[in-house]
Subunit: 358 residues, 2 copies
């Protein structure tokens, strides 16, 4: 347990809104951000602090040397409010702030390094959790090895956690959970075209998703989570009339989960299961593909949504807590100081609740 | 224009909640139901009236001989409140009320006949619109010819309208719209397994859906509707990375609609386009498959949802207005008097708005 360690916030792509939403979160929600340390580029973060401060007093930016300074300075992640503004570890140390609103290799490299280094700090226990500001996938793809090999955060974190734990990637299965105040959704697959996503709906993948969901939520809830499993087809296939995936893949997965004493049920008609979870019937819904789960999570607004990577751990029984805001780099907003920090603040709060439950 | 004609309400499957929600609507919302006439089975509707009246005074049920009586009795669909309780045309005239909560051929046949006869009345102009209480597909399938040939209402109405108009079925294309106070969604396909639904996402089908949506909403709005077209794949395919349907089928359909001076846009990322429509950016969303559209419509609750069949007409320029509540027969609730009439009342209100706009 490392609840005294700070929460690491990776800057995200320095050409996007990441630095601004981080600075705005420290400015507007200092209580929530107490115990957080930004891993990024000092020049870019100072510029962001100026942008979001507007005509008011400028958010102070405090450069820290390392995690030891960070831990001593901020106290506990659940401790007192720091009066130091925004603490930054200047991992990138560029001469000047990065270009705004552009896909470019330098930004991708800086963003990738901040994630990599922060993740290793959490795996070591120097930081208690990782909250990531958004990457731009195209810039990351230009950043060269090792970063270009990863489509996004999740794959990079999975790689680092498996390496730290000394296990194969396949033995560190992960799933994306999207959560807001009303709904938790865990996805069987993420960034696949819908045709390929259908092929990923197998008994093994669905069961693994239920297992990961169960393991991730049981500690926080203090009881087995009530997991609803969505069907794939309209009306959950209506007995095979509109598709057989429910009968062939999903029902056996639910049966296997029940046999393992998890509280799973379904498959349920996709068009009402999220509404049922929202009104309290279930603690989480296992969704069969990206949009099935993300449409309901985002329907009431993206400001409160949090992205949580489930399944990561350090190989010695401690989960690697990672959350992020539920939006992208928003190049069109970058540099205006107008980006909304709500989702990042929600991500920090969610990370704190997971640290407390771990 | 036949706005003086009554609104026909087909009873639905007499073993389901249809008769009860109709009676409850007349009991609780007499203003909304003024000008409506039920086409059904008198004995079953009298029983339903007793069930929903509970300990209060029993809802009066008034038997009418035909549409002439109905028109004279109720006055205009937009006219004064009738004080006659629930007017019923006893098309079925069974000796006793139907069995409750059971799939059976007699209920399917009665339900099918009420829809058939009411639809012909609307096509002739004797009724101004059709509001349908829910069918049970399995009972309808047991009802013999011609009813067993139709999977549901939509196909039966399409058949009757095409026959009335003297055109081929293919020349009477229809689409399902789901609407509530916040969102209108029109579906490219309905009851297909998801794999088959993907194959239905063609340029021609998407364009036809946009055209039907445009034609149906322009009169009511008094301007071209702002139609958002959803993508099929996560992030609308992200430039082909997660699927090519957007580039190959959907984008050309949007371009063709624009060339025909419709106000279409997209394809947009499916996980945020419904939220954007909810907050006012669009008048309707064209959804690529059943659950993509129905998950957001139902997320806040099914009570206010209305199902509208777009594209039906009488062959002489008058649309066949048909709406229905957004739920099924709920056999488990039938006979309790507890079923919620809100969606039926919303369907009547929606039908009235479409009559006024026609």
């Amino acid at each position: 347990m490392h609840t005294d360690a700070p929460i690491a916030i990776s800057m995200g792509d320095p050409s996007g809104i990441g630095p601004e939403i981080i600075a705005k979160a420290f400015l507007q929600n200092p209580q929530d951000m107490a115990g957080c340390v930004v891993v990024g580029d000092l020049a870019t973060l100072r510029r962001a602090a100026a942008w979001v401060s507007g005509d008011g007093p400028r958010l102070p930016v405090a450069q820290l040397a390392d995690w030891t300074d960070a831990a001593n300075l901020t106290g506990s992640a659940s401790g007192p409010v720091t009066a130091l503004g925004m603490p930054v570890i200047d991992l990138v140390a560029s001469k000047e702030a990065f270009a705004v609103g552009q896909i470019n290799a330098a930004s991708g490299l800086a963003a990738g390094r901040c994630v990599w280094w922060s993740t290793e700090a959490v795996l070591r226990g120097d930081a208690a959790a990782l909250v990531t500001a958004p990457l731009h996938k195209a810039s990351l793809a230009l950043a060269g090895e090792p970063f270009a090999a990863f489509p996004g955060h999740t794959e990079m974190l999975q790689h680092l956690a498996a390496a730290h734990a000394g296990c194969a990637l396949a033995d560190m299965p992960v799933r994306m959970m999207l959560a807001n105040d009303e709904l938790r959704v865990v996805l069987v697959s993420i960034h696949l075209g819908l045709r390929r996503a259908l092929d990923a709906v197998t008994q093994a993948q669905v069961l693994q998703t239920i297992q990961i969901t169960h393991a991730a939520l049981a500690a926080g809830l203090g009881r087995p989570p009530r997991i609803a499993v969505a069907g794939l087809n309209p009306h959950a296939g209506e007995g095979g009339l509109f598709g057989r995936e429910e009968m062939d893949e999903i029902e056996p997965a639910v049966a296997a989960a029940l046999a393992q004493h998890m509280q799973a049920s379904g498959p349920f008609a996709p068009d009402t299961v999220f509404m049922r979870a929202r009104t309290g019937e279930f603690d989480a819904v296992v969704a069969m593909y990206h949009d099935q789960g993300l449409i309901p999570v985002k329907y009431l607004g993206v400001e409160q949504g949090v992205n949580v990577t489930l399944g990561l751990h350090n190989g010695r029984g401690r989960p690697l807590v990672r959350t992020s805001p539920d939006h992208g780099t928003a190049f069109d907003l970058a540099g205006t100081g107008r980006a909304n920090a709500s989702s990042l603040v929600a991500a920090v709060r969610h990370a704190r609740s997971l640290i407390a439950a771990a």
